[in-house]
């Protein structure tokens, strides 16, 4: 067992973890952050994406001990004082979710994507979210939600008849 100090959604935790504990297991089982979910075991689906010091990471792909001394933000820590993060609001507004299982990871990745590239093209959004799988939406409204947050001009491009270029 190893002692770690991690801040999760603004709260400091000191916990003993097995060395093999994945960050996602620590978040779900020890901190109780079940909003972050597990969709695969090969780092393909991205459902478990959280932010580590503000950058998106797949929490199934790092060990809890690697988060020692770092700050983790999960889907549960995004809304502040009952006000949704703009990306959460956009997912609701644009119907960018159905079953909701990929949604936590998709929202966390989308926020990071815009942090890197505040005004992405549709193609850049689609490639930026390549590491997050969704089985319900066909991605169209997820792309729209990201464009919605990014700014006014992008959604018009989504409707363009040419579809995605690659």
């Amino acid at each position: 067992m190893t002692r770690i100090n991690v801040t999760v959604d603004g709260v400091a935790y000191t916990d003993e973890v097995e060395n093999r504990t994945l960050l996602v297991q620590y978040l779900r089982e020890q901190v109780g952050k079940t909003g972050t979910v597990i969709g695969c075991d090969t780092t393909n689906c991205g459902a478990c994406t959280v932010h580590l010091d503000g950058r998106s990471v797949k929490s199934c792909t790092m060990l809890a001990v690697q988060a020692d001394g770092h700050e983790v933000t999960t889907i549960e820590g995004l809304a502040q004082d009952g006000v949704l993060h703009p990306m959460q609001a956009a997912f609701h507004e644009c119907h960018a979710l159905q079953c909701g299982f990929c949604t936590p990871g998709m929202i966390m990745s989308s926020i990071d994507l815009l942090n890197d590239n505040p005004n992405p093209t549709e193609t850049e959004i689609r490639h930026g979210l390549e590491g997050n799988l969704c089985r319900c939406t066909g991605y169209q409204n997820i792309v729209k939600a990201v464009q919605h947050v990014a700014g006014g001009s992008a959604p018009a491009r989504a409707a363009a008849a040419t579809g995605a270029s690659s």
């Binding site: 079940t34 695969c40 990929c102 936590p104 979210l129 997050n132 409204n141 579809g163």
Partner: protein
Amino acid sequence: MTTTEQEATSSQTPEIGKARRRKEDQRLITGRTRYTDNLSVSGMLHLGMVRSPVAHARITAVDASAAKTSPGVVAVLTGADLAGKQGSLPNAWPITADQKAPNHPAVAVDHVAFAGEVVAVVVARSAREARDAIELVDVDYEELPVVLDLATAAAGPPYAHPELSTNVSATWVYDSRQAGTGTDVDEEIAKAREDGVVIERTYRQQRLIPAFMEPRSVLVDPTGEQLTVWSATQVPHFVRIFLALVLGIPESKIRVIAPDVGGGFGGKLQFTPEEVLTVLAAQHTGKPCKYTETRSESLVSGHHGRDQLQRLTLAATKDGTVTGLKVDLLANMGAYLGLVTSGVPVLGAFMYNSIYKFAGYRFTDTNVFTNTTWTDAYRGAGRPEATFAIERLMDDLAAELGRDPIELREQNWIKHEEFPFTTVAGMTYDSGNYEAATSRAKELFGYDELRAEQRHRRESGDPIQLGIGVSTFTEMCGLAPSRVLGALNYVGGGWEHASVRVLPTGKVEVVTGTSSHGQGHETAWSQIVADRLGVPFEDVEVLHGDTAISPRGLDTYGSRSLVVGGMAVVKAADKVIEKARAVAAHLLEASADDLEFTGGRFTVKGTDKGMALAETAFAAFQGHNLPDNFEPCIDADATFDPVDFSFPHGTHIAAMEVDTETGAVKLRKYVCVDDIGNVVNPLIVEGQVHGGLAQGIAQALFEEAVYDENGTLVSGSFVDYLVPSAADLPSFITDRTVSASTTNDLGVKGVGEAGTIASTPAIVNGVIDAIRHLGVQDVVMPCAPQTVWRALRAASTKGGTA
């Protein structure tokens, strides 16, 4: 003020038709979710499943002694331990009286028939300790010959289950001449051979995996009087009934809850070995037990879909009028029959003729066992296969006759003025307008311009060739009229149940027997009830997915929820209004016949006297002053059994670019115009179409469950099973036409499967249209670059005459 004017001023803007944002979203976007694996019960133990690594073997010994002493392990349960308790997993659809099926144990006792089958269960204090101990269970397998290929299996031996002495489970036939719905198909084919056109093809529906995003999970709490089961399932009511039937537990002692469920697509329309085993482990230990599968386990053991070989003969006259269609199907059951495994191909039987006016039709389905994961419902279930076959054939016929594929379809389809139309497969199509949908789709697509570009690319020998793929599909929705299911030997019914309760404070609770797992029933049902009862959308609460709250229901699959479940809600709401009318009439001292109900109020015709629905609810709650002999309650239940299916349709057109040098395929543009009747919530409908398209396109281009020659699933993780990402798909251009259904009061048809059913043939037709002039007649799915390249190469080797 006239009565008409009063109505006009008091009515709200209708909720039905509004793009309401979903009520469900708040908890899902903030991580406050209750997926089964998120739930914990004090003292809960965790299960790990030991799964067979071999596809076919006798189990000669299971040694669990090392596992039992592993840290945290509470118990190890083997087939021998549970043989007397576990019963046999059910098949709810014996399609013929002589259908053959093996015993289907939850945990294998002495024989395994596919790789991934459970052979022992480890119960431990943590999921990690359970998984550690799985490795310590020593199972001796005496391997048996493996049968995987459909045609080989149909001929057999070897047999997937030696005790059956055959791999053929059942053969099911629909013949239009025998059924009295058409002519003899063999005569039609003979005529066409003499003086017409005969198209003979064999198409392969590759094996797919539903790949819902939430891995399945089940939690069983045996403490207390009732056994409480939380399961990531589409069908909590089924799970309850079958736990009772299979394990002999009184049904009244079982409560099944489907909390938040992360997608299903048919993949969670199942009663699973893992559900049975978690119940047995909870009973064995007396403690709450939870099992959550890993993704790899999900892919290897959750049921698969499709996997059929379609041998097809289409007869037509020289002028392109279709006359006969013969379908000879081999359907891969896998190793066992699950809930509706055997019936999935039969669901396609009524759809091969699609929107076209065939004279003669015969459908023969042979269900075959192999040593693979069992198949069952996957989005569309039988109908995508049928649609793929007929839409490919229509393109091939058009090519054979040198005709435009849309024009040829129009020559043969049912005209809008011919509805209702009874087809050669005996179905009565309620309504539709194929001309209108097709015309709109062509316009949005820029059909003529893209045909011109296609010609230009062909003439200039462009290495990037353009193909245009068409699919004018229909499907049957709204499973199902119970009498029809009975005639098809399905053991259950197809009705749906709802309750509507007006609470004393005026808020409304709606209980539905459907079980939403992403479809947005909480929102759509609220819209329906808000309109019906004249109450605010926000005041309606929709409850579902818990057999203690929603005791009657047949759950969610087969695009049935709105068409059947939504109608049950309507019927229950109408009953509430009638009960409330009696209360209002009594309190207003008027005749019930003189009361009008609009905008949530009863008013006495010709007066300004009136009373809100909520007031009648409160009066009923008080019970102080009600009509004589009136039960003090205005709440109502309704069970709705549809009289017939509904038949949505649509025209989908895809522009496909094929790189003739590399075989790379690009979906450049996708247009679909669907007609799903009236729409309750266009936002939700759009979402269903988008997601459906993605799955249908994925069958055409990306996904395939692949076994090696030993029966090991090699596409056993998301590394190898290619669920498309955002980068693999374009934005779709969607629109709708509206032909209201005539088989239900809402005029709705169902949309959950439309995109999946329609899109696969549109894509493959597009790929082939791009390279048909190079001699390619078929590309097997998925149309991966290497497959396309090989098809091109084979055609060029044959000198373009293939």
